[in-house]
Amino acid sequence: MGRAAVLAGVGSAVPDRVVTNDMYAARMDTTDEWIRTRTGIRERRHLERGSATSDLAAEAGRRALKSAGVGAVDAVVLATTTPDHPCPATAPTVAAALGLGTVPAYDVGAVCSGFLYALASGAGLIALGTAERVLVIGAEAFTTIIDQSDRGTAPIFGDGAGAVVLSAGDQSQPGALLAFDLGSDGDLADLIIIPGGGSRQRASGLPAAPGDEYMAMHGREVFRHAVLRMTESSRTVLARTGWDVGSLDWLVGHQANVRILRAVADHLGLAQERAFVNVDRYGNTAAASIPLALDDAATTGLITPGDRIVLTAFGGGATWGAIALEWPNLAVA
């Protein structure tokens, strides 16, 4: 069998501060019922003041390294939409915080699809022989780019991080990343966008308009494209692995909205209960959501060794993707 990147460890970290729907209802025109019925979200975590993305990333990374039983890796790939600074990338800070030495470390930006892109990038380093072991992290302080007075976006997003260790192995091993599908459509860039703060606004010579530092989202159109792209991408990796949809144990989709996850399952012809859901407890944590979901599902025993899993996501860009794997026997917290 051919060389492959194999999942060897998983971990996650979320801030302690729980923000409930009622806390939003107390300060804006919304209700717990409105948020729950439209998103499935009951609560989410918010970063403590003074913390940043790298703090969550390092903690998740530490736990993934412990799960893998390793103290060193050959590279760190971090998927994030909310780096500690616009420049430099956050991954080197995380690598240093973890005492990983001078290994290559870089950020990948694909918003909510970021973790799948980062997994593909990490697997690529292994395929090239550049690395034998890669720490791949998805981490977000996403609430820092959300207008907390906007009832349309504020209750949706949360902060968190998840990480996995990829090790060189072969495709017959449990945990091998068996099939990838990634895509983008830049014509849909406006669907999910922070208008200000980038070179487009800075080069205009004009200051950013008020509120342009926050993310804006066209929710209904995102819903439509997310369902169609996640369905199509999942079908593509199912075809590449030769798995029948009925043989799939878990669809671990990006945790944006429970109704998107249900619709994707429906479009795939997959039983609703096969779509893993933890958006109710963490909200949408963007690039962190898939590794956070994997760690959650493994820790609670929902996902067990040998399970056939498809990971899928849709996010800003627009970007999307899917990856298929069989769950390995991992040590989890």
């Binding site: 439209r38 929710g219 209904r220 819903f223 439509r224 369902v227 169609l228 109704r259 479009h267």
Partner: protein, 81 residues
């Protein structure tokens, strides 16, 4: 009007609004029936999956009566019994 698609849409709407199909009134607006904006998108995506037609955002809207929504989906899907 096509009976088959009408029946399917009514069943779908009843399921989403969580009311028995017999309780649906054709003269009620989609809003009065209790459908939210994502329900309308879910119905549009269902039509795309089942009939291969793209119902654009806004073609189904809250002020429409159920009868108008049925007529739109019937016309757009061009389904035959």
């Amino acid at each position: 009007m096509n009976t088959t698609i009408n029946e399917r849409v009514l069943a779908l709407v009843a399921d989403k609004a969580e009311v028995p199909p017999a309780r649906l009134s054709l003269d009620s607006t989609l809003e009065d029936i209790g459908l939210d904006s994502l329900h309308l998108m879910e119905i549009a995506l269902w039509a795309q999956k089942e009939y291969g037609v793209v119902i654009a955002e806004g073609e189904l809207h809250h002020e429409q009566t159920l009868a108008e929504a049925l007529a739109l989906l019937d016309a757009r899907t061009g389904a035959t019994a």
